[in-house]
């Protein structure tokens, strides 16, 4: 199809060559009828890149070698892109066939807006949800975090904001969207631009290692103190962190002050509703470890977030 490139899809890929291949297949099946391009920033060796990316039949693919965090790679990607609309999707996502069409359509209906699509756990991978510790995304747009797994930015806005904060180890997508809002941009939903997110299972040590990165959210909150308005007591990332902290205090203090034991009750009540009894201890360990990790991050970034 001739004509100017309507949209550039940017993907940062690391250590997920098979999933990247599956993403390329899903992008090859897109119904979007106008010219578009795909920019992949990856750190695969030459042979892998040749096999997985270069020889894939999808036309209009720019593959760029790039290292560093996701923010840095995405910056490399959108800066190398040609279009005025930049769609971001993650390498562990599977867009529906009309994903790009719907995303661009919403962008044209709302010129200048950031457009967030809907993300659901991958229906092909539902069996994995039986695991006690899983990682996936379930996003109803527009949500509080505006993750980069399924979102479109006008190029002009990215340029004005100078892209992602490359110092952020995690939460760089939230940071970008907050700066976009601060600059007066609007964020609109495209609920019919659907992408499915991989479902990955972890062992308890594995999920603890995986979640260690959340300690760097303190950096994000330090940059955007307005986020605290949505946090319980202004310092807890979410209600579960508050409740598990209260439960831990209750359990530890109960040795000397038994009347403090009921502090554990709200957590137990809430967790019992969400998880089977067999999964409860693991979930409690996971959540408490997250709080401890965030405490470490608070010290490092000199702002309290638990």
């Amino acid at each position: 199809v001739d004509g100017p490139i309507a949209v550039s899809v940017v993907v940062a890929s690391h250590a997920r060559q098979l999933r990247l291949r599956w993403l390329l297949n899903a992008l090859e099946e897109q119904t979007f009828a106008e010219p578009w391009e795909l920019v992949i920033v990856h750190d695969y060796d030459e042979a892998t890149a040749e096999r997985v990316i270069h020889r894939h039949p999808l036309p209009g693919v720019k593959a760029i070698e790039g290292t560093g965090g996701p923010g840095r790679r995405r910056n490399v990607g959108w800066r190398a892109a040609s279009a005025e609309l930049i769609a971001f999707i993650d390498d562990d996502c599977r867009p529906e066939r009309d994903w790009l069409e719907r995303l661009v359509s919403a962008a044209r209906d709302h010129p200048g807006h950031v457009i967030q699509g809907r993300t659901r756990p991958d229906t092909f991978e539902g069996g994995v949800l039986a695991a006690p510790h899983v990682r996936t995304l379930n996003i109803e747009p527009v949500n509080s975090y505006r993750e980069t797994c399924n979102i479109l930015y006008p190029r002009e806005l990215l340029e004005r904001l100078d892209g992602f904060d490359e110092r952020a180890i995690t939460g760089e997508d939230v940071d970008l969207s907050l700066r976009a809002l601060g600059a007066g941009a609007q964020i609109s939903a495209a609920p019919d631009a659907l992408a499915y997110h991989a479902i990955e299972s972890f062992t308890l040590p594995g999920i603890l290692r995986q979640n260690l990165k959340w300690r760097h959210l303190a950096y994000l909150v330090k940059r955007h103190p307005e986020m605290r308005a949505q946090f319980p007591l202004g310092i807890f990332w979410d209600e579960e962190h508050l409740l598990v902290t209260a439960a831990a205090i209750g359990l530890v203090a109960a040795r000397r002050h038994p009347w403090l034991l009921p502090l554990a009750a709200p957590y137990v009540k809430r967790a019992s509703r969400r998880h089977s009894p067999a999964k409860l201890p693991g979930q409690a360990v996971r959540q408490f470890a997250e709080v401890l990790g965030m405490a470490v991050g608070s010290v490092r970034h000199r702002t309290l977030l638990l």
Binding site: L18, W22, H56, D122, V128, A130, S201
Partner: protein, 163 residues
């Protein structure tokens, strides 16, 4: 060549045909088909790829067998064979016999991990028909050689090339 053919019971007739064909060529072939245990259904309910519980027996049989090559017919059997290779230093061949469909590549716990490990570490990955080769290219970015499952002579050549 002393060969262990590893499979978990699904598609057994074809594997036994290959074994017969290899034996006709004077190879020493053992088909290792340990029975899954009662724990299998529990693992399945917990979302794991199955069968799995036979893997320790498969590994033990491989360790004791003194084989020149192990030929696995599923990623999880290849995983056991790769553990055997660490000790024995002998090659592992993987046949992709299960349908390669996006819907099934990561639909259970450990499935993708077994697949990734097997694809990255097995000495050779093969398929048995052109349809499987096309699917392997599309979904795994692999172009494995096609060797008909009943072709004992071609398998023997493959094993000899690896040992």
């Amino acid at each position: 060549v002393k060969v262990a053919l590893l499979h978990h019971g699904r598609g057994a007739p074809a594997v036994h045909e290959l074994a017969a064909s290899l034996r006709e060529l004077q190879n020493d072939v053992t088909v290792l088909t340990p029975s899954p245990t009662a724990l299998e259904s529990l693992l399945e309910r917990r979302g794991f790829t199955t069968p799995l519980t036979h893997l320790p027996v498969t590994l033990t049989n491989l360790m004791r067998g003194g084989y020149d090559v192990a030929h696995a017919f599923s990623p999880q059997d290849a995983y056991a064979a790769l553990l055997w290779r660490r000790r024995s230093g002998r090659p592992v061949v993987l046949s992709l016999v299960e349908p390669i469909q996006r819907e099934r590549l990561a639909d259970a716990r450990l499935r993708l991990r077994f697949l990734n490990t097997a694809l990255e570490q097995c000495d050779v990955v093969i398929v048995h028909n052109d349809e499987a080769r096309a699917a392997a290219w599309r979904w795994l970015a692999l172009e494995p050689p096609v060797i008909e499952l009943s072709d004992g002579a071609a398998h023997e050549r493959l094993y000899r090339a690896q040992t």
